[in-house]
């Protein structure tokens, strides 16, 4: 009964989100349609990281490599004349997954703080490699001449891009829920609680964790492909460690391991920045205070707060 109510609530929220552009157009705030697309894209990126951190128990500090990497794949392909989203976006996903396979295979030998640092190291190596490449635009990044073509859909306007991002976010959330409930997901949960025991029981722990890391990266690559389209630019800042930190902060803020942790974190952080930026020139000060309050008083993040209320 409770599940049905939840499912209905979710569908209702999704419908409301889908209708949002009409409401914004009605009040003449078209600009915020683009902003909403940005929220959906970052929500997808944070959700992908939450899968790695929350379900896989791996505190990865290099997620920007996959997120920004996806953006660069789309921009580079467009520069080479590949405009079709049907080709470029899967390529971004594949490239991120492949990179994660290599990085994960090398990094998963370490644990805890050292895992944090080695994922950071690989992400920084990718950042510096990309800015050293002139055909990738160096420090300036690579602007896109146009948006990807998702024929038969037209991505030219912000509304279409928002819907595509929203649909991909909803589909990813649904898929990740199915994965978490599967046998693989339960094994992953077992590893998170007691790795040694699962190892002793004969589970291929290393491989299971690697798969989780790769899934998270692949979704981040998809989010990156969307971001390049929204922003019209693949920029080195999206590969830098501060971007990894930002995504991690979104996850912790929203709720580590919570189904909607990434979504809540992304909306809260970006929404707070936008709202405070309008009323005060020093929005980051207050954003900082809010994050600090969550860190001290809401150990399970915003999702935890909502659950307690429900």
């Amino acid at each position: 009964m409770k599940d049905r109510r939840h499912a209905l609530l979710e569908l209702g929220l999704l419908a409301a989100a889908a209708l949002l552009p009409f409401a914004l157009q009605a009040i003449g705030e078209d600009y915020y349609i683009g902003f909403a697309a940005r929220l959906a894209i970052f929500a997808l990126a944070a959700t992908s990281l939450n899968f790695v951190v929350g379900h896989g128990g791996m505190v990865a500090f290099g997620h920007a490599a996959f997120f920004g990497g996806g953006a660069y794949v789309v921009a580079l392909l467009m520069q080479a004349g590949v405009v079709s989203a049907w080709l470029a976006w899967p390529a971004a996903v594949a490239a991120a997954a492949l990179a994660a396979l290599l990085i994960g295979a090398l990094s998963l030998r370490t644990k805890g703080v050292y895992f944090i640092m080695i994922t950071l190291a690989f992400a920084q190596m990718i950042y510096y490699s990309v800015i050293s490449l002139q055909f990738a635009g160096g420090d300036d990044g690579l602007p896109l001449d146009a948006r990807s073509s998702l024929a038969p859909f037209d991505l030219g306007n912000d509304r279409a891009l928002y819907w595509v991002a929203l649909a991909l976010l909803a589909a990813s959330l649904h898929a990740l829920r199915r994965v978490a409930a599967s046998r693989y997901g339960r094994a992953l949960a077992g590893i998170r609680q007691n790795e040694a025991r699962m190892e002793a029981l004969g589970y291929p722990v290393f491989r299971l964790k690697l798969v989780c890391f790769v899934i998270g990266a692949a979704l981040a690559g998809l989010a990156g492909a969307l971001l390049a389209n929204q922003n019209g630019l693949a920029s080195p800042g999206q590969l830098y460690w501060t971007q990894s930190g930002m995504l991690l902060v979104m996850v912790i803020l929203g709720g580590v391991g919570k189904r909607y942790g990434g979504v809540l974190g992304a909306i809260a952080l970006l929404g707070l920045e936008e709202a405070l930026g309008l009323v005060t020139g020093h929005s980051h000060f207050y954003v900082g205070l809010a994050l600090l309050a969550v860190a001290l008083f809401a150990p399970r993040g915003l999702a935890g707060l909502l659950e307690r209320k429900a």
């Binding site: 683009g34 160096g138 001449d145 922003n231 630019l233 920029s235």
Partner: protein, 392 residues
């Protein structure tokens, strides 16, 4: 549903069809510039020059109340892109201006120009927008990046310098500055050093310069980069053996104020000087000093001219900003009193103007500042205008 659409279409048609005879009731200017970080001094000067012009014009551009929305790009293309999007889509500005760096200008130019918003560069003048990518909606009221460098290159040749090494940041403006220098410098370029844009510690480059021993070092390092470079150059004891030459960008008030005495005797090129003798300039310099308690730099003069250009254009079209073709024509005419004296746009919307030699020395009040020494080029155009096929 169908009916609704029809009504909407009719309404839209009505707004479009209405003759654009209605004058706008205000002019909105999006001012995106570098206002934080080591290069903030440049953006601040452009902004202050622009605001001074507005003050002279009574807060109006072409008799319409002006609303200037200032945003900081943090010298970051990604940030610039986002604030520009907001200015275009949310604030719906009529003009964009203020950008300091060429890489940032090139990143935001497309969305601005595609939205048919006039982009008046008060500084960055990348070669791309002067040549193949020239655009009816883009105007540069300052110079093409190569120009000021060409002038100092010509002078270095005339001075008989044999070997020169260039130091410039690795970005479009830096590359333009080196190619401009080389175009008129006839001696030997012993080496070209490209540093990271925003680099502040030049220990590694200075050690290489010491080993290479050229006659002169030509450096193009705007803002805090140049301040640190000159200080460290002197601290490393290189000024004894190697001569420094530069374009006006690294020899103006911002750098002189921070470096002080070691700047004395530095020859540099510019399209403007605070001691140029014309009525507009005398008023600009005197009021700038009164308002901000410092001498204006060439950046401030460009910000001032940008506002005056907009004022003239809005006045000429009588506030009818929707008539883009008329606004463009009015901008092309450039009927304003530039602080440089005469001012004229080429077909690629870049200036055709004179370039001068300046020397840093103590003035009669004992201040270290630039003095106008002579003219290097007269009615000088840029090298890319031939590649520009400006749409009629």
């Amino acid at each position: 549903m169908n009916k609704k659409k029809t009504i909407a279409a009719l309404l839209a048609a009505a707004t479009l069809a209405a003759p654009a005879a209605f004058a706008a009731d205000a002019v909105k200017v999006g001012f995106v510039s570098t206002l934080s970080g080591p290069a903030a001094g440049l953006g601040v000067d452009i902004r202050d020059g622009f605001q001074l012009a507005l003050k002279h014009l009574g807060g109006k551009l072409g008799n319409l109340p002006a609303e200037v929305i200032v945003a900081d790009d943090q010298q970051n293309p990604n940030t610039a892109k986002q604030v520009t999007e907001r200015l275009l889509k949310k604030d719906k500005v009529d003009f964009m201006t203020g950008i300091v760096f060429s890489n940032i200008l090139l990143t935001v130019a497309k969305p601005v120009l595609d939205s048919r918003t006039f982009l008046i560069s008060a500084n960055a003048g990348p070669s791309q927008l002067a040549g193949e990518d020239c655009n009816p909606y883009f105007f540069n009221v300052a110079w093409q990046n190569d120009n000021v460098a060409e002038a100092i290159g010509k002078w270095a040749s005339d001075e008989g310098m044999k070997t020169v090494i260039s130091v410039a940041p690795n970005y479009p403006g830096g590359k333009d500055a080196v190619s401009g220098f080389k175009r008129f410098y006839k001696g030997k370029m012993a080496d070209e050093m490209y540093t990271k844009l925003g680099q502040l510690d030049y220990a590694a480059e200075l050690a290489q310069l010491r080993a290479a021993k050229p006659d002169a070092v030509y450096f193009f390092l705007p803002g805090g980069m140049g301040i640190n470079f000159v200080k460290q150059f002197v601290a490393a004891g290189l000024s004894k053996d190697i001569r420094l030459i530069t374009s006006g960008f690294s020899a103006d008030e911002d750098v002189i104020g921070a470096v002080g005495e070691p700047m004395l005797g530095l020859f540099n090129s510019s399209h403007w000087a605070h001691d140029m003798d014309n009525a507009a300039n005398r008023k600009f310099v005197a009021d700038f000093e009164k308002e901000y308690k410092r001498l204006p730099s060439l950046y401030a003069s460009q910000g001032y001219d940008a506002a005056m250009l907009m004022d003239a254009a809005v006045r000429q079209v009588k506030g009818k900003l929707d008539d883009k073709a008329a606004v463009r024509k009015a901008l092309e005419a450039a009927q304003f009193a530039s602080v440089r004296g005469k001012f004229k746009f080429n077909v690629n919307h870049y200036p055709v103007q004179d370039y001068y030699l300046r020397l840093v020395r103590k003035d009669e009040k004992g201040r270290i500042t630039n003095k106008l020494m002579g003219t290097i080029f007269t009615n000088h155009a840029d090298a890319y205008v031939g590649q520009c096929k400006m749409p009629k």
